[in-house]
Symmetry: C2
Subunit: 338 residues, 2 copies
DNA sequence: TTGAAAGCGCTAACAG
DNA sequence: CTGTTAGCGCTTTCAA
C-alpha cells in the first residue's frame, strides 16, 4: 500500500541503507545518490513509518504532557484554563518538526505506576504541567528527558514562574493604590505554586506592616467564592483582595458583588494567571500574568533539542496586567479605574 | 534492560508464540501454560513494548483528538474552554485500557496534508473536536475509524448536539420570561454549530413573531463584547440576549454593564455551552448546556470498541441551566432572579 | 561512499 | 494446544 523505504531505494537504484541515510540527512551518502533518493521520495510520496522508526531507534517522536490530577476523575482538566494554555504553548513548536503531543492525566492514587509506564515508553521527553515534587523526582529517576513547569525537587530540570515575586508585587501594588486591609485567598495548601504565592503575600504584608487576612480556596471558582464570602463576614472592612488564581478571583468577585459591595469602587481585586477567567469576569480582572504559553513552548523546545536536559533551570517573570478590578483610593495617580 | 516477551517465554518454559497468546488473552493456550506465563510476567514485571506491538499489528493504541484551528497560530486552543472539555471527556475512558491520547492542532492552511499524515498513522481512531465538513469527509475517506463531534457531511459518523433545538429553547424561554426584544449574537458564519444555533434563533423568533436582532461574534469574548455594544446602540430597547457561546456571553455581559444596564434587572442573557466561562461571569450565566464531556466520552468508547464506526449517528440533548443572568419580567413564575 | 545483514520486540500464519 | 517461521519498516553496525 504505502511505499516503504525499500520502494524508495529500489526506485533510486540504491540500497535501503543509503536511502535511510539521505532521508535522515546523516553523512555517508553523497551527491548523485542523495538526488536520486530525494527524487524517488518525491515521486512515491514516501512518508517514513514512525512506528518502525521508533522501534528501530528506541525512541518515539512524541512529547508527553503530564498532569497529575489530584481531584477524583479528571474534572479539573475540563474546567481549569491552565492545561489548555500549556497545550497551546507546546502545540505550535511541534508544527513541522514531525512530533506528536500525548496528553496524560495521571490519577494521584495510581500515579507512581502510571508514571513508570510513561517513563518506559521512551519519547522525546515529558513536560510536567502539574505534579508534586516527590512524583517528579520519582519520574526523573527513570527518565531524564524531563522538564517541570512547577517547582519541584531541585534535581529535576524546571522552568519556574516567579510566583513569590508576583504575589509580592500584587500586594505591593494594592498597597500603592491606597489599600490597607488586603485579604488573600490562597490555593491548595500542598500545591507548590500556591505555597509560593502565599509566601509572597506574607512577605509583602509583613514588610508593609499590613495584617494577614488569609483564607484558602483550592484553585477553583467555588473556593474563591466561599473564601471571599467568609473573609468579608469576618473582616467587613477589607478593601482589597489578592487572589492566587483567576478562577478563584472570578468567584470572589461574585461573592463581593453579592455582599452588596462594588468592584472596584468598594474593593479592589488582583488575580493571578491572566487566564481566560480573568477576562470573562465582570469587571475584567487586573491580574498577575503567568507566562504559561511561553514556558510550555520553552519546555517543548528544550526536549525537542534532544539529549538529557542538563539540569536546566529558568525563571519566568510574572507581570501585572491592569484591567478594571483595581482602583486607586489614595491621592496617587489613576489606575484602571472605570 | 527491560524484559522482553522472549524472557517471559523462557522463564515460563514456553515459546514466544504461546507467551504472546496468553498475554493478549487470545484462545489457543491453556491451563498450565497460562499460569506459568502469568507467573513469569509477574516475576519479571514484564510490560509489552507498545511500539513493537504497533509495528506488528499495524495499529497504535492511541486516539487522535483533532482540532482544526481556523485562527492563525493556535491561540484558540489556549483560550476557548471547549477543547479542554473534550479532553476531559476522553481521558477517563482511556484510563486502564492502555491507550493514549494524542492531540493534533491542525492549521487550516495545511489541513489536508496534516490530516493525511494523521490518517496514515493508523490508530484506534480519530475524534474531530472541531472541523469543517469538507475536511472531515476528506479524512474519513482515508480512515474510517472516525467520529465527529460537530455536524459534518452525512457520510461521516457523528455525535451531534441539538444545537438548533437548544437555541430555539433558549429564545422560547426568554419569551416565556416576558422578553420581547430578544437580540442574538451568533458565532462564525461558517461554523456548523454556529449555523445551527442561528437557525434555532431564527426559527424561534419567526414562530413567536419576534424581530430578528442579530449580530455576529466569532466565539470569542471580544466578539461578544463588541456585538452586544453595537446591538445596544442600534436597538436601545433590547431586553434580552441569546448568545451562541458562553465566552461571547461573558463579553456581552461586560458590554451591557458598561452601557449602564444591569444584568438581569434590565436585560436577561442566555449563553450556550455551560463552560467555565458561564460560571466565571458576573452574574453567573444562565446557559444552554452542551454535554461536551459526555459526547467526547461516547466518541472515545466507540473508537475503543474497534472496527470501523458503522455510520453511527447520535444526537445529544441541549438543556437549560438556570443561573443568575435571567429574570422574569412578566406576570409568570420566578426564574433565577436575584 | 556503499550495501549486506542483523536486529528492534512483537504478532500471526502455518505446520505439527 | 504448541512451537517454528516469517515478517512489520526502519536503523545501524560492519565489511567491502
Amino acid at each position: 500500500m504505502k511505499p516503504t523505504i525499500e520502494d524508495v531505494a529500489q526506485l533510486a537504484g540504491v540500497s535501503r541503507a543509503t536511502a535511510s541515510r539521505v532521508i535522515n540527512n546523516v553523512p555517508g551518502a553523497s551527491g548523485p545518490s542523495r538526488e536520486r533518493v530525494h527524487a524517488a521520495v518525491a515521486e512515491l510520496g514516501y512518508e517514513p513509518n514512525e512506528t518502525a522508526r521508533a522501534l528501530a531507534t528506541g525512541r518515539q517522536r512524541a512529547i508527553d504532557v503530564i498532569v497529575v490530577t489530584t481531584d477524583p476523575g479528571t474534572g479539573w482538566l475540563g474546567t481549569h484554563p491552565y492545561v489548555s494554555r500549556v497545550l497551546a504553548g507546546v502545540m505550535p513548536v511541534l508544527q513541522g518538526v514531525n512530533a506528536q503531543l500525548r496528553l496524560h492525566a495521571v490519577r494521584r492514587e495510581a500515579a507512581a505506576d502510571e508514571l513508570d509506564d510513561i517513563a518506559s515508553s521512551t519519547t522525546l521527553g515529558a513536560i510536567f504541567a502539574d505534579i508534586t515534587p516527590d512524583l517528579a523526582a520519582h519520574f526523573y529517576r527513570r527518565c531524564r528527558r524531563t522538564v517541570s513547569m512547577v517547582r519541584t525537587d531541585s534535581s529535576v530540570p524546571g522552568l519556574e514562574a516567579d510566583n513569590v515575586g508576583g504575589a509580592y508585587d500584587a500586594v505591593d501594588r494594592l498597597h500603592q493604590l491606597g489599600h490597607r486591609r488586603i485579604a488573600a485567598i490562597h490555593g491548595p495548601a500542598l500545591n507548590p505554586c500556591a505555597i509560593d504565592r502565599r509566601a509572597g503575600y506574607l512577605r509583602a504584608t509583613q514588610r508593609l506592616g499590613l495584617p494577614d487576612l488569609s483564607a484558602h480556596g483550592g484553585f477553583r471558582r467555588e473556593g474563591g467564592h466561599d473564601a471571599a464570602q467568609q473573609l468579608l463576614e469576618q473582616h467587613p472592612d477589607i478593601d482589597a483582595f489578592f487572589v492566587a488564581c483567576d478562577l478563584m478571583a472570578a468567584g470572589a468577585v461574585q461573592a463581593i458583588t453579592a455582599s452588596g459591595r462594588r468592584v472596584p469602587d468598594d474593593v479592589s481585586i488582583i488575580g493571578f494567571d491572566d487566564s481566560i477567567a480573568a477576562v470573562c469576569s465582570n469587571p475584567p480582572l487586573t491580574t498577575m500574568r503567568l507566562p504559561v504559553e511561553e514556558m510550555a513552548a520553552t519546555a517543548a523546545r528544550l526536549l525537542l533539542a534532544g539529549g538529557p536536559v542538563r539540569s536546566h533551570r529558568q525563571q519566568f517573570p510574572v507581570e501585572l496586567v491592569v484591567r478594571e478590578s483595581t482602583r486607586d483610593v489614595g491621592a496617587g495617580s489613576a489606575d484602571g479605574s472605570r
